[in-house]
Symmetry: C2
Subunit: 214 residues, 2 copies
């Protein structure tokens, strides 16, 4: 396929498969973000197969050439979008979690902020889940990265003596799954319930288990 002309006047950057497509200017970074935000709406509404590059640039309000400055194909922007959403989620949750007074509270705040993120970005489920079929490596990497963060929090909390010392990867996957399913049920499907109440109930289960109370 012929390499389309870019509209940035830096066509020399757009040559070759391994070209570095990282924007070097603030204007470039802004265009890239516009394309990714537009891609989230387009893939979220129409799914990977129905989505088109021209609809993405139309939604982004950029020239078609801008697309090819940063991406070679629909597959490539989809892959970048999965990473972008994964990072947006991390950037939303991490500062709130880091400000928590202890690890148990951190998990409550993490879940509550995740539920809030899902309500604001409902397309996240469809996009991440479609990655299972479009780009399995991105799908798996999203979950492995997310769960690795949970595991790190658990280990830090255990080292500070706030929770049991034997926490492992298994606990981290259990918590990750809990959060993703609660997000689907109470973030995506049900947008009425009080998310801080849901996070508090799930957090109490995590903190104390199913043990009978006095």
């Amino acid at each position: 396929m012929d390499q389309p002309q870019t509209d940035t006047g830096r066509a020399e950057e757009a040559q070759g498969d391994a070209r570095d497509k990282t924007p070097r200017t603030e204007r470039g970074r802004r265009t890239l973000r516009k394309l990714l935000d537009a891609a989230a709406v387009e893939f979220g509404e129409r799914g990977f197969h129905e989505a088109s590059i021209s609809a993405i640039t139309r939604r982004a309000g950029t020239a078609l050439g801008s697309f090819y400055t940063y991406f070679d194909s629909k597959e490539e922007i989809f892959q970048a979008l999965v990473r972008y959403m994964s990072e947006q989620l991390r950037d939303h949750v991490t500062p709130l979690v880091q400000a928590a007074p202890d690890e148990i509270s951190a998990e409550r705040i993490g879940l509550e902020s995740y539920l809030g993120f899902v309500r604001e970005h409902k397309e996240i489920y469809r996009i991440i889940d479609e990655a299972e079929f479009v780009d399995y490596a991105s799908y798996r990497s999203h979950y492995e990265t997310t769960v690795a963060r949970v595991r790190q929090r658990l280990e830090n909390g255990a080292a500070r003596g706030e929770i049991r010392g034997d926490v492992s990867e298994i606990h981290a996957w259990a918590i990750g799954g809990m959060n993703v399913f609660l997000g689907m049920r109470y973030g995506l499907w049900d947008t009425e319930s009080d998310i801080s109440e849901i996070a508090a109930i799930a957090n109490d289960l995590l903190a104390n288990g199913l043990k009978k109370r006095d």
Copy 2:
């Protein structure tokens, strides 16, 4: 579309959209199961869009007409397959869970038998997850039905005084998500780990939470 001839000699049953396609003979039930088992392999290996009805009947070793005795389309057998896999899972897990001495053990046995089922039926993730895109109602119904069973177990356990009394739908979704993610990580991706050890560790988290031990 012309209604294809069936190979059962009961073509009169095959008329109309709302026709009852439930097999009435043991031979019919066997053919239907063969078609569904073949569909699980075909959809599991090739995905919905690449899969074909003729490949399903070839894998099943049945005539093409048999397919149309029971299904009108690829969509229809896919929908039936999601329900079939959901029921196979239930039939695998339920008797083991019901034989458990108490609710905490039931959740451990439920998870362990689920992990075992996933290792034997790896296609279950791809098929259920693809339902999100092919037939959302089936996707949602699979999880709602599965979680409703967890909730019933929790409520029964609470009524028997084996666990805390305030268990709710939120606890059931948390446990459902835990199990699905542990199944992906340790049933689908990692087939080496000891599933009874994983189930025991996750069950201890569920029973006692993250509380520090003495």
